[in-house]
Symmetry: C2
Subunit: 430 residues, 2 copies
């Protein structure tokens, strides 16, 4: 079963029609590399610390990341829905999480006709409350609803760009299982699904499963930690087994329990790009979320939660893969597959570039065409490096003399001349 | 240029795996027909008055409506982006719309480290502020950015279900043109795009262009008003010309100006499903949003706004098309194209129903399969009527005896028996 949105791809765009422009400078108060590059490249606009709007280029990346996650969630049996942002006090009082003393990141606001409402900072209560209406028998379970939505957290500090937002777009799936065994089977499936996601978005080689604090119902939760010097967490990594332990639970007992050797564990800075959590009956109990089993006995539903912040994921990808010149997008999430540049004002060059652009469109290769007039080769190259599209294809007087287009990967120093047919063959297979 | 999301369709689902169930009753405080039917059918969940979550069935409808709107916006040159919900005071003070005395539907909340922020109730300021960074020359214009996002309005009354939300999902496009002439050409294009949208979602025959109050910069704005007894507006409709006048500007002078005859104008209740607005320089002036024209002179950008609330549109479609038994979805936005029902517990019936289900899947016909055991034919028929999927296909002992599947449109009383091949041929062409 696949699900979700129904629209077509935008496969091409002229850069002269893209309203965003690259900038030499990012806002003075922006200290994070990820936000700096995204702002300079025209992917996002900073509304305030921790709050960004997605400009057309950024939305293309976000949509691609979203679709990869959606595919993996559908693959494990997830059903997409969309919960509201505004949350009522009564629902959250059931778990004692309405109080600002318990949850210190609430944004709350007042209804004009009385009463306070909160802005979703997570979704356990909303889902438990909804499922309460639909679950009554063992036949109704298991269920794996999820959504993509904006989440709001009133962070006091928000200096990590997209990596710690006050408003951010996330995916959360909640599992509703009949018992621990059924829960555990699904939990293991989700580990694999998460690993697939991080591989597909290009940071699988830097991302490790990490044992972290588990809360009331299980000793550990599992984080997916990506190694990066700007990461907010400290982890201890065993590179042989690819297992890590979060500093918060790092001690001799845990090391022994996980059959790890302290000498092999290396301290690293890392960013949590996903987490999965066994919730037991922590939320089903206060909502009295029960089902009748095959014997007619009432049982509490066993829950799990599985989150990924898409902005943080994109920020982490940039932090880990970018170089001095700019962003390096993995192919699966790049806003376009190829950045076509026409150099100079030569008529023959511009006309051939348009031909190449049309040929790429016809073959459904996603292309951004830098057709801007009055810009030097150096300026266009610098912009291409900043935007980080996987391939750069240059049409110039020289490339025409050599019989084609100069193609270069963003990660390579030197390009080569190939024919338009070869270009299409190369990019179509990607 | 097309754009947007990249995921595949969900073409099939077993109703036994759909976690929502139909209900006999809707919440006691729900007085609107649209919300009542959507809640009873399991399309939406009511969080509080004017705030609804979209359950899997509802999200499928929402995605289809969204995609139709997206296609039409891309067709006129729109570029999709996504602005943040949290808005800073400084931006809105430029137009004097931060004050609660000027705008009485703000939801505001406080940042923990000081200062108040607002939740988007509209987008003119956010767009003007962003575009200010990217527009400097006549070469940068015109631009037509748009987004889909959640909008928040602190309504004192919210009793019309999806038709007046406190939190609602909308599309807003803003046009940024060089002068009035360029603006007017685009404005006329948008009238056509809007008419296309309302036609495509199935209420074109009930929706009229309506002259309404224009504000500072133009005498009129244009609303798209759908005739419905529960509509919030009163309009005066000339059915010959398909032109209407909103009560707020209805007077002899306006009637004469529009070349209408008072005797032909009939008073109707109607719901505003879309509106388009010439803004002139009302927003570009306070943001100093200027460009240099071809002579190097500074000119203010001329703006327009074009909104559609998707929830209100869906609510209006239900109010106008539903019958006593339930929802009637137009084909283009139905959650599935066909509702396949297996009746009874007969093994041969169930096995043939699964065959039909598989055949529909293979042919990419969107099918909801009511495979639920232990339900009477009457219960399944009533649910099918409530859910409102355009075609109902029944596999039963009788249909098998007659050599096929009983197919019936939701709007028809009687079905007919056709072969599985004919069924697929019928639905594939739709």
């Amino acid at each position: 079963m696949t699900s979700g949105h129904f629209s077509g791809k935008m496969v091409f765009m002229r850069q002269s029609k893209l309203f965003t422009k690259t900038k030499k400078e990012s806002p003075a108060d922006e200290v994070s590399k990820n936000a700096e590059l995204l702002i300079r490249g025209g992917f996002i606009h900073k509304e305030m610390a921790g709050v960004y709007s997605f400009l057309p280029l950024g939305l293309r990346v976000l949509n691609k990341v979203e679709n990869i996650i959606r595919q993996e969630m559908n693959e494990v049996g997830g059903t997409e829905m969309r919960t509201a942002v505004l949350q009522s006090r009564e629902v959250w009082e059931k778990t004692n999480r309405w109080s600002d003393e318990v949850v210190d990141t609430w944004f709350k606001t007042k209804l004009k006709n009385g009463g306070e409402v909160g802005l979703s900072f997570t979704n356990e209560e909303a889902y438990s409350n909804i499922l309460k209406q639909y679950v009554s028998s063992y036949k109704d379970l298991p269920l794996y609803p999820y959504d993509f939505k904006n989440i709001f957290r009133n962070e006091t500090r928000s200096k990590s760009g997209m990596m710690r937002g006050r408003e951010f777009y996330w995916k959360a799936l909640y599992s509703f299982s009949r018992n621990e065994e059924e829960h555990n089977v699904f939990y293991e499936k989700m580990k694999v699904a998460y690993q697939n996601i991080f591989k597909r978005v290009g940071i699988g080689h830097l991302t490790y499963i990490c044992f972290a604090s588990g809360g009331t119902f299980s000793k550990f939760s599992h984080e997916f930690q990506t190694i990066t010097s700007v990461g907010e967490d400290t982890i201890y990594l065993d590179e042989n087994s690819s297992i890590a332990i979060n500093k918060e639970v790092y001690n001799d007992e845990v090391i022994a329990e996980l059959n790890l050797n302290k000498e092999n564990l290396v301290e690293k800075r890392a960013e949590e790009v996903g987490n999965i959590f066994s919730l037991g009956t922590k939320f089903s109990a206060p909502f009295d979320l029960k089902y009748k089993d095959e014997k007619g006995e009432d049982k509490l539903v066993v829950m799990g939660s599985y989150g990924i912040g898409l902005g943080r994921l994109i920020g982490t990808i940039i932090e880990t893969l970018a170089d001095d010149k700019g962003i390096i997008w993995p192919e699966a999430i790049a806003p376009f597959q190829v950045h076509l540049l026409s150099l100079g004002e030569d008529e023959a060059v511009l006309s051939e570039a348009v031909n190449v652009y049309d040929a790429l469109n016809k073959n459904e290769v996603e292309v951004l065409f830098d057709d801007r007039a009055g810009m030097s080769a150096g300026e266009k190259f610098a912009d291409a490096d900043l935007l980080g599209i996987p391939y750069r294809a240059v049409v110039s007087v020289r490339s025409l003399k050599d019989g084609g287009v100069e193609i270069k990967r963003r990660t390579e120093e030197k390009g080569e001349i190939i024919s338009v047919e070869e270009l299409i063959k190369l990019l179509k297979k990607n």
